[in-house]
Amino acid sequence: MDYSIKIGGEAGQGIQTIGGTLAKVFARTGCHVFTHQDYESRIRGGHNFYQVRLADRPVTSSRDGIDIIVALDKESISLHERELNENGLIIYDSEALRQKHEGPHFLDVPFLTLAVENSGSKIMANTVAVGAVLGMLGMDLEVLFGSLRETFSKKGDEVITGNINAARAGRDFAVKYCQKCSFDVGAIHELPLQAKMLITGVDAIALGAIASGVKFYSAYPMTPSTGIMNYIAGKEEEYGIIVEQAEDEIAAINMALGASFAGVRSMTGTSGGGFALMVEGLSLAGMTETPIVIALGQRPGPATGFPTRTEQGDLQFALYTAHGEFPRVILAPGTPEQAFYLTNKAFELTEKYQVPVIIIFDQHLADTEWTFEKFDPDKIRYADMRLRGDALSGMTEYKRHAFTESGVTPLAVPGDSRHLVVTDSDEHDEEGHIVEDAETRIKMLDKRLFKKMPLIRQEIEPPMFYGHEAPEIVLAGWGSTYGVMKEAVDALSPTLDKGGQGGGIAMLHFSEIYPFPPTDKFNYLDILNNAKFAICIENNATGQFARLVRAETGYEFKYKINKYDGRSFTLDELEKEIAARLNKTNP
């Protein structure tokens, strides 16, 4: 079982309600789900879609072929009809679209009329559509009813009953009139009857921050990072967190640094353009050794680019931006699960080493929904590394930037004791006051950079190795291409693997990017060197990660697959690209 459903329409028509409800129902039923959204930078109108994939095994990418299209606008048909799989169907309301389609793959469901007749309100037309899709799939409606009861609990019984009736009407209509429906979700019944969690990348980052004890989040709204601020703001009261909307990104990072210096765990988030404004603040974090986590959600540039679309175009920017020389850490989660745990790691590293940590992600990871059995809060590490209270008062002396063996000076809470806490964006002495002398300069730079960097590097995990253990073909990548690369390995293994005769395929996925992972725990360079085809796959034009690998290890990828149209790879697309590389060089 592996079906894809596409809900297309204008912004504001409710495609998110339909798509989101279906995804939730599938996840609660125990299915594996992957969703992605394609939307324009507008609040109303345009053409947008929400694509939901459900399967009886883990799915981590979108497919090109669609099994059910829910068409809320004419473009959903004109643009996507050709994507239909064999036996695929388009459901639409000819009254709403003011056009009638006669082909055998069309099912005209009177969403509006059924809503008015059964619930008394045309608002519930979307619930009719959800019911119709579930009916086409032959699924039970009980899970949906539970979800509707929760969603509308505050609106009263009338609204709940109306929605339930609307869903039932949609289902009954589909069951009665969909003679061509041949979908088989029987495999669902083989799955353990346990609801899965359904979560996006931004929510996972936000959850990771909350689980790590974030107390202060300042940001200026910018797609695709805004969801982090939205989620944390919803938890302000419950967890005792302050979310402050800054006047600009410069203020956002400086506020976060101020709060961090004052003694609380702090974070900011933005996208490339906003990060460009934050860059001087990044350098300030480096100089003042103030802990901060920065969530950098990439979207296609340059400048405003495609505000609502995806790209991995800011890796080199994140690596090398900001004036002066100071250490930084860059983490690049590939899944919401990795985002949750790596955000925790970001906080641990920034608090432990007092260097800025950047979590680099993109619109694809931000907005896609994935299913997981669970996130394990017991795996979250939390240790308060600040000097405060009695521990601080009891010290005979305190200097904010005192020289130490590790280069790290414990950060005291200003105002908590008689010890003064002083820091400066100018070069400074151990106390934190401005200096000009060369000797102190050298010692301070050694402390900030050369002493800390080797220690940080030891904390970096090697890439994830997945697939054949001695692969002839290696797919290498970083960040959000994880899902599609992993599925490509799964999909291509049976055809490529010639048993003991080579042909094996595997993936090397890097989620901890800088400092670049050492090879002592796992020599991934051997894997690359021994492979016949090592292909670096990136959602950008120039192969920024391949360049980093070469700079850090000397290894140069001969094969690359780059996509820079502002959209993420679909599985089918990536498979074709891989086949093309293999065929071109191996006729």
């Binding site: 009261e237 302050i242 101020g258 003042t288 401005i434």
Partner: protein, 283 residues
């Protein structure tokens, strides 16, 4: 009782005769008179001659980037509103580079004390026009004279309903000290614009120039009357008023955020046990 010795820092690197010396001395005197120990307060500054002040005394300090003292202070204040905060900045730092932060922090109204050393010229970069330079002033970079309208921080403060706005003059230390104390004791965002000669680069707005013009605002002025305050804020030229121009009793932001009502954020312990329940929302 703290003494001047407790507030002693590095030897200032300012030009001899600079107005900054009087501001530094007035600050120390005000703190000592109010019996405030250096470790109980924090100073935040940006870049410029004024912004070096924290190094020439001794308190908790964050000396950040050019123009960005206010956002750092805002973050510190939200994280720990038990720690009184003073920002020392200049006309270039605060009215130029950091102008946006000034506007929005007046609106935000955290209990931050902002002291702007306003010498109507850029000192650290050697003599370019500042936002408060008077129209027509010629400099090496403005050979035809300044064309832009002079920025009026007092009028801007009244327009934005800034919680407290006062003007002082570094040549009148007794009055300056009282303005520092009044700002310190006001609850809300407080701006004190301190007129100060730059002996090296500003040949127009000299000690004598200010001395001839400044006068103390008298009891007839009601600083809580916004219209009166706006009229007073517009006075500039032959006569320049110093004193409290405007104040109101808008509640400070830290008094309005429910979660820090009882305890500063920095004192609140993190309870990781709740995360299990939060994760359930995603099923």
């Amino acid at each position: 009782m703290p003494t001047l010795q407790d507030y002693k820092g590095q030897n200032p690197a300012w030009c001899p005769g600079c107005g900054n010396y009087s501001i530094l001395k007035s600050f120390k005197d005000a703190m000592i008179e109010m019996d405030i120990e250096p470790h109980r307060i924090a100073l935040v500054s940006g870049i410029g001659q004024a912004a070096k002040l924290p190094h020439y005394t001794k308190c908790n300090t964050f000396n950040g980037l050019h123009g960005r003292a206010l956002p750092v202070a805002a973050g510190m204040r939200l994280a720990n509103h038990g720690l009184p905060l003073m920002v020392f900045t200049g006309d270039g730092d605060c009215y130029g580079e950091g102008g946006n932060h000034l506007l929005h922090n007046m609106r935000r109204n955290l209990n931050i004390k902002l002291f702007v050393h306003d010498n109507q010229i850029y000192g650290l970069t050697k003599g370019q026009a500042s936002p408060t330079s008077m129209e027509g002033m010629t400099t090496r970079n403005q050979p035809f004279g300044v064309f832009s309208e002079q920025f009026n921080p007092m009028a801007a403060a009244v327009a934005l309903d800034c919680s407290f706005a006062a003007r002082a003059f570094s040549g009148d230390m007794a009055h300056l000290k009282e303005m520092i104390k009044a700002a310190y004791n006001h609850r809300g965002f407080s701006l004190v614009d301190i007129l100060q000669p730059c002996v090296s680069f500003n040949k127009i707005n000299t000690y004598e120039w200010y001395k001839e013009r400044v006068y103390h605002i008298g009891p007839e002025h009601n600083p809580e009357d916004r219209s009166q305050a706006f009229t007073k804020a517009l006075e500039w030229g032959d006569r320049i008023p110093i004193g409290i121009i405007y104040k109101n009793s808008r509640p400070a932001l830290e008094d309005r955020i429910p979660i820090i009502k009882d305890m500063p954020l920095v004192r609140q312990l993190f309870d990781p046990s709740k995360i299990k329940d939060t994760l359930q929302e995603f099923y």
